[in-house]
């Protein structure tokens, strides 16, 4: 029988996170090198879009991560609200800045791609607009948490906001199906064969995995900082080798 709640205490989680960070960090670097190599040197040139399409190796993983991180953040927020566990709420606030970064990256690379392909930096299309709203939701979450001084109230208020904002995720994901907009439909799907060359797909998946590992590493690093900040009066911190004076 596994004790699922063992690592729910910051004290047990802190060293575990410290041991996991190097593995995920190294994995992220290696996968990113492999993904960028496949993407920029191995994958064939696109018949219609020329070399400019290669930005999808950053754009698509960033967009996936922007939505995925929000879902994970909302999940931890809900767990924190339901079980009143401190670490889940810390996890949610540790994920938010990375999610906002990926959302911004997705919008930025999309603009760089849109200029040569669509002839414009920005269109008010359903997917672009809802991704922009996602960025605002991340910003609202972070602004609300930083405006509340009391950590427990900040956790809970942020959790309610994250759960309210989660309605936006299906809207972004299905926007290209529901509305007939300029943004192209999904090229990759779980249910049918992808409509792209295998090498392109491989590069994209490698980059997506690299982004995921990067997110895990950074979130764990940030959660350790939050633990240190909040538990600074706790006696167990004296036993942690990194903190020992």
């Amino acid at each position: 029988m596994i004790n699922w709640f063992k690592y729910a205490s910051p004290r047990a989680f802190f060293p575990l996170a410290g041991r996991m960070i190097p593995w995920f960090g190294a994995g992220a670097v290696l996968l990113a090198i492999a993904g960028l190599y496949v993407g920029f040197f191995v994958a064939p040139t696109d018949a219609q879009q020329g070399e400019g399409y290669r930005i999808i190796f950053v754009h698509v993983p960033a967009s996936w991560m922007s939505m995925f991180i929000y879902l994970v953040m909302a999940f931890w927020a809900a767990v924190g609200l339901a079980f009143n566990s401190r670490l889940s709420a810390m996890m949610a606030s540790a994920l938010a800045p990375t999610g906002a970064m990926f959302t911004f990256l997705s919008l930025w690379t999309g603009a760089l791609w849109g200029k040569p392909m669509w002839g414009t930096w920005w269109v008010w299309d359903a997917r672009l607009t809802s991704e922009l709203i996602l960025l605002f939701l991340y910003m609202g979450f972070m602004a609300l948490q930083s405006a509340i001084d009391e950590p427990r109230r900040a956790d809970k208020a942020g959790a309610v906001l994250a759960l309210v904002g989660v309605v936006n995720i299906p809207i972004i994901y299905f926007s290209v199906q529901w509305w007939n907009t300029l943004h192209q439909g999904a090229s990759v799907s779980l249910t049918r064969a992808p409509s792209m060359a295998t090498l392109m797909l491989a590069g994209m998946l490698l980059m997506a995995l690299a982004s995921w590992m990067y997110t895990v590493a950074v979130a764990l690093m940030r959660v350790r900082c939050i633990v240190l900040e909040r538990e600074r009066h706790a006696s167990w911190l004296e036993e942690v080798s990194e903190v020992k004076r």
């Binding site: 605002f136 405006a147 309610v160 904002g165």
Partner: protein, 227 residues
């Protein structure tokens, strides 16, 4: 207890809030005057060409309604929070969700309903045709309650925080976007000679969803704020 669903408490809260607002008429009128002024600024900024104005009128009226509704959100819970009434409401035997619906209803009566009545009049200044006027009023009548409902979540989350006013805008405006799109879209559709029913149905669907979930989220947020 006879009042199991809290209906008496609901109407009590609405009557109390409306009466309190009527005692300070200027406070209650401020969002409405704000709405009128913002709408009249656009022709001055853009220029009085009637074709342009007719085209942008639905968007302007809707955005101004959004801002006016948001501006009055701090009245929703802030005063009751400051003088302790809110604590009593949370402690009262009536379900908190019903009391929240009452407060939201009063907020709509004071800040949403006047806009519904005023907007067609202001739309005349923008030379909107008569067919668009009724759709504009209907879309505002369905949409402004959603603004009050979503706004209540933001208002309860930022209760008693420093810089609460700007923070509410940051939290609430992104969530207002669907209402803006479908509301202004319905008027645009009529102007383009299409049927507005699809937009209005979607708007009504948003109202139903918000009417169910927003009071729940607001009660949770209120309890967190009062902990």
């Amino acid at each position: 207890m006879s009042d199991i669903f809290g209906l008496a408490a609901l109407s009590g809260v609405i009557r109390r809030d409306v009466r309190l607002a009527m005692r300070r008429k200027t406070d209650a009128l401020t969002p409405v005057i704000f709405f009128v002024i913002v709408v009249s600024l656009f022709p001055l900024g853009i220029g009085p060409e009637r074709d342009t104005l007719r085209q942008i009128a639905p968007g302007i009226l809707w955005v101004a309604a959004l801002l006016a509704s948001m501006l009055s959100l701090n009245r929703l819970f802030e005063q009751d929070y400051a003088d302790g009434t809110l604590e009593q409401l949370v402690l009262s035997p009536a379900p908190l969700g019903m009391l929240v619906i009452g407060k939201v209803g009063a907020h709509w009566l004071l800040s949403g309903a006047p806009l519904v009545l005023l907007a067609p009049l202001l739309a005349l200044q923008f030379d909107l045709p008569a067919s668009s006027l009724s759709v504009l009023a209907i879309s505002l009548a369905i949409g402004t309650p959603v603004l009050s409902l979503i706004g209540a979540i933001g208002a309860s989350l930022t209760l008693g925080l420093r810089g609460g006013g700007v923070l509410v805008a940051l939290l609430v405006l992104p969530l207002y976007v669907p209402v803006l799109i479908f509301g202004a879209g319905s008027v645009d559709a009529v102007a383009a000679g299409l049927d507005a029913v699809s937009h209005l149905s979607l708007l009504a669907a948003v109202l139903v969803l918000a009417g169910f979930f927003a009071p729940l989220a607001t009660t949770v947020a209120l309890r967190i704020a009062l902990e």
